[in-house]
């Protein structure tokens, strides 16, 4: 329906998770739990970024498209587009 660019989401999410995982640790206050909090931030950033990246890469060059019922086609065509 709408054209989506690939570069823009990549830039946005890489920056976001990069801030969380790389810049975030510098701002954790000193205390007994500093190490654990930094580990958590980095691990969260890595896991969530990787998961999102896999999802968008899998859809980048689809080899086949969705198979729709004729009612759905009619509905989507005339009511959404």
């Amino acid at each position: 329906m709408t054209a989506h660019s690939f570069a823009l989401p990549v830039i946005i999410f890489t920056t976001f998770w990069g801030l969380v995982g790389i810049a975030g640790p510098w701002f954790v206050p000193k205390g007994p739990n500093r190490g654990v909090i930094i580990t958590m931030l980095v691990a969260t950033a890595v896991c969530c970024y990787l998961f999102w990246l896999i999802a968008i890469l899998a859809q980048l060059n689809p080899l086949f498209g969705p198979q729709l019922k004729n009612e759905t086609i009619w509905y989507v065509r005339f009511l959404w587009e």
């Binding site: 329906m1 190490g35 580990t39 691990a43 998961f51 999802a55 890469l57 859809q59 198979q67 004729n70």
Partner: protein, 813 residues
């Protein structure tokens, strides 16, 4: 890094406790909970230890306490919990507590005994009175005996026409079910000369004088209570009055007794709770003292204990303070040890649950890398990959949030239900699991199995329809039509956040999703396992085994990444570089991967990139070359080093060492000492004992485990796909079978609204029961397995033991 990275440093300390102050010192240490005592008298039986008499006294006291507690419970009272801090009392107080307790117990026993006796007496009197009252109206069948309802009076009826005969009366009471038997026996024994009358029977019979004795003996046999039954009515009346008076007095005495009993119980209630706590602590202190060895020359006890190095100053201060009161001084100093110290990892209430699930597999060895800080995030993440649904994740998150916000309420803490306690202890775990599930739910684009269009879809149906001439007539003829990404304008770009919502409308939804999720599982698995191997680097460096970096970690990483990292590379390459234009002849990764190992070639499967076969062959050969390095590298290195050391040392010292080792079999443990030396200082003696066959065997097992494990563990991560598929399908079925039918019923708003209430109730109950509880437990279990087996077997041995300090804390709760 906080102390969760690896265990804190734990040292063996030797405590010198002068006999006068030993008790106070140990009691103080118990309050603080800093040290774990080692049993120095392990070879001595429990009955031969020094303080066995005191321990026995405490145990006797505890028995008395149990008796008192039982009495309190029998009286229907509840013991109040002990209030305030109650330190272990000094030994001289034990005597006082013992005396008081014994006195109370004795009083209680006496009072109870009196009460029973008085009650029995009262009962007898009441029975007698009832029998006498019955005698007044012998022919009345409906007379009731008060207070003796289980006994039937047995009386003789004075026969009217036989007044001239001498009649004796024997009156008593017998249990109803014995009455017929008694009557039969009496009749037979007295040869018919008997009037036996029960309340129900009214058969006047004859009865002569001489058989009174027989009747008495028989009634004794039947355990009847026999009472004197006077002939004259006035005498009987007099006897009745006397009985009534007696029973009244007795009842007053009984009342007094019961008042005294409740007084005694009141004193028990005051004494018992603090007494129990104190005696328990005292017994614990004596048991700890029993573990110390006695130094008779210095008149003090020597104890060995494990203590965290950080707590050593606190320990010394505690010893100083408590022994100062007695005027002596107790000291503690650190001694070197050969045994593996216990592991101590300090946690707070957030990290405790994650450390708990790691420890459930096995407590880490002393100072090896702790997987828990990473598990805090990766466990909820892998759970969420299998559970991904915004709605379900939100429900789980809110439930956990409610528990977290209410965690300080006393009602919540005091709950006894075990299942609730299990959920409550894991509230932070559930919180993170819910949070990550919301995120993965957005990526999977599933909210109670419905997709949401946060952004518009990237697939254009209109473009496909216009370009392929899909008129209404055409559509009516064909039920299913596929969008072709090759057609211009149909596919407009990847959905920026998650899976495109058009797929939830598609019939071939699963074809796409399966491919996506399987590849995702393999990628996540390879990354997780590679991370595990990398964590092993920290272990090797810390324990001073740098040779293992080159001879184990490097080959392992090469093997893993060369084969399965390459698979991940193929997956990503195909995603990026294979276009829809030649979709029909798209290369199959699976066939390429199989051919890679078989060194064969499928002509129909085109190459992904030029020179692919050369690259693949190189990688396989490289990986296979790593196997002998892994198998033989470390053993050969160790043997070489061992031989070099032996050569350097003079021969006679070598003899001495060997002889010394024969006496201490413990020193030559392969598991701890020979493989992993503690950095900075171990005797050469320990290394001298190196059995080549054992080292080779150990390494062979490790190699096979790693290489075969690589393959099977990578496949094992496919459970991420399997469970997320199951969850999605269950969710979908529930929606389609329950809610969709409910929403589709009735066109009028009124009907639909009424019908939806029970339908939604069913939907909600089944969502919680099947999808949240059952699927949640299932995903939890599988995420746990992935951590325990696939991740931890790359670097974690888990064969340590925890530092369990000597503490009274359990009794204070």
């Amino acid at each position: 890094m906080g102390s969760m990275f690896r265990s804190e440093e734990v040292a063996l300390v030797q405590l010198f406790l002068p006999t006068a102050a030993a008790y106070t010192c140990v009691s103080r240490l118990g309050e603080l909970g800093l040290v774990e005592f080692r049993d120095l008298n392990a070879s001595v039986s429990a009955f031969q230890r020094r303080f066995v008499v005191d321990v026995r006294r405490c145990e006797e006291l505890e028995k008395t306490f149990t008796f008192l507690q039982e009495e309190v419970r029998r009286a229907g009272l509840v013991l109040p919990p002990p209030k305030g801090r109650l330190p272990a009392p000094p030994p001289r107080d034990l005597l006082r507590i013992q005396e008081e307790t014994e006195r109370l117990a004795q009083e209680l026993r006496d009072v109870r005994g009196n009460q029973q006796a008085l009650r029995a007496q009262l009962h007898q009197l009441q029975l007698h009175a009832a029998v006498l009252r019955q005698g007044h109206e012998p022919q009345l069948a409906a007379a009731h005996t008060d207070g003796a309802s289980e006994r039937t009076p047995l009386l003789q009826a004075p026969g009217g026409p036989h007044q001239d005969l001498r009649v004796n009366f024997v009156a008593g009471a017998v249990e109803p079910h014995k009455a017929p038997a008694l009557e039969r026996l009496l009749w037979r024994a007295c040869r018919g000369f008997l009037i036996a009358s029960f309340r129900e029977l009214e058969q006047p019979l004859e009865h002569p004088v001489t058989i009174g004795q027989k009747i008495r003996k028989i009634t004794d046999c039947f355990h009847c209570h026999v009472f004197p039954f006077l002939q004259q009515e006035e005498a009987r009346l007099g006897a009745l009055q006397q009985l009534q008076q007696q029973s009244q007095e007795l009842q007053e005495v009984l009342g007094e007794t019961e008042r005294f009993l409740s007084q005694v119980l009141g004193r028990v209630l005051q004494l018992l709770p603090p007494g129990q706590v104190q005696v328990h602590k005292m017994k614990a202190v004596y048991l700890a003292l029993n573990q110390c060895s006695v130094s008779t020359t210095h008149k003090c006890l020597i104890a060995e204990a494990w203590c965290s190095v950080r707590d050593l100053p606190a320990l010394q201060e505690a010893l100083r303070d408590s022994s100062m009161e007695e005027g002596v001084s107790a000291v503690a100093h650190r001694i070197p040890c050969r045994d593996m110290p216990p592991t101590l990892i300090r946690t707070n209430r957030f990290t405790a649950s994650f450390q708990g699930i790691v420890d459930a597999y096995g407590v880490g060895r002393y100072q090896e890398v702790n997987p828990a800080p990473y598990t805090i995030i990766t466990f909820p993440f892998l759970f969420a990959v299998m559970f991904g649904d915004v709605g379900h994740g939100l429900l789980m998150f809110l439930f956990a949030l409610a528990m977290v916000l209410a965690e300080n309420r006393p009602a919540v803490k005091a709950a006894q239900n075990e299942i609730w306690q299990t959920f409550f202890r894991g509230r932070y775990l559930l919180l993170l699991m819910g949070l990550f599930s919301i995120y993965t739910g957005f990526i999977y684009n599933e909210c109670f199995s419905r997709a949401t269009s946060i952004f518009p879809s990237g697939w254009s149906v209109a473009a496909m329809a216009n370009q392929s001439g899909w008129s209404d007539a055409f559509l009516a003829q064909h039920t299913m039509l596929t969008l072709d990404p090759n057609v211009t304008g149909v596919f407009l770009g990847p959905y920026p956040f998650g899976i495109d919502p058009i797929w939830s409308l598609a019939a071939n939804h699963l074809s796409f999703l399966n491919s996506f999720k399987m590849k995702m599982s393999v990628i996540l698995g390879v990354v997780h396992m590679a991370f595990g191997v990398v964590l092993g680097v920290f272990n090797h460096v810390h324990f001073g085994q740098r040779h293992r970096l080159l001879l184990e970690t490097l080959p392992e990483l090469t093997f893993l990444l060369g084969l399965f990292g390459y698979l991940v590379f193929l997956v990503i390459y195909k995603w990026l570089c294979v276009w829809a234009a030649r979709a029909a002849s798209a290369p199959s990764i699976l066939i390429h991967f199989i051919n890679m190992f078989l060194f064969s070639h499928s002509p129909s499967n085109r190459l992904l990139y030029p020179r692919q076969e050369v690259v693949q062959a190189t990688l396989v050969v490289l990986a296979l070359a790593m196997v002998p390095i892994l198998l033989l590298g470390t053993p050969l290195h160790l043997l070489h080093r061992h031989r070099r050391r032996l050569r350097r040392r003079p021969a006679d010292r070598q003899e001495e060492n060997k002889a010394g080792l024969l006496d201490l079999p413990d020193a030559s443990v392969n598991g701890w000492s020979s493989d992993e030396e503690k950095a900075g200082g171990l005797d050469d003696e320990e290394e001298a004992e190196l059995v080549p066959s054992e080292v080779l065997m150990h390494q062979a097992i490790h190699t096979i485990e790693f290489c075969l494990g690589c393959v099977s563990n990578t496949a094992s991560y496919l459970r991420l796909w399997a469970l997320s598929l199951a969850h999605a399908q269950l969710s979908e079925v529930l929606w389609a079978m329950v809610m969709r039918i409910g929403l589709g019923l009735g066109r009028e708003v009124g009907v639909a609204a009424v019908v939806l209430v029970p339908i939604f109730a069913a939907f909600a109950v089944m969502t919680v029961a099947i999808l949240l509880v059952m699927e949640g437990l299932s995903a939890f279990l599988h995420a746990l397995r992935l951590h325990w087996v696939e991740f931890q077997n790359k670097f974690y041995s888990g064969t340590g033991y925890k530092l369990s300090p000597f503490t009274f804390a359990a009794t204070d709760d």
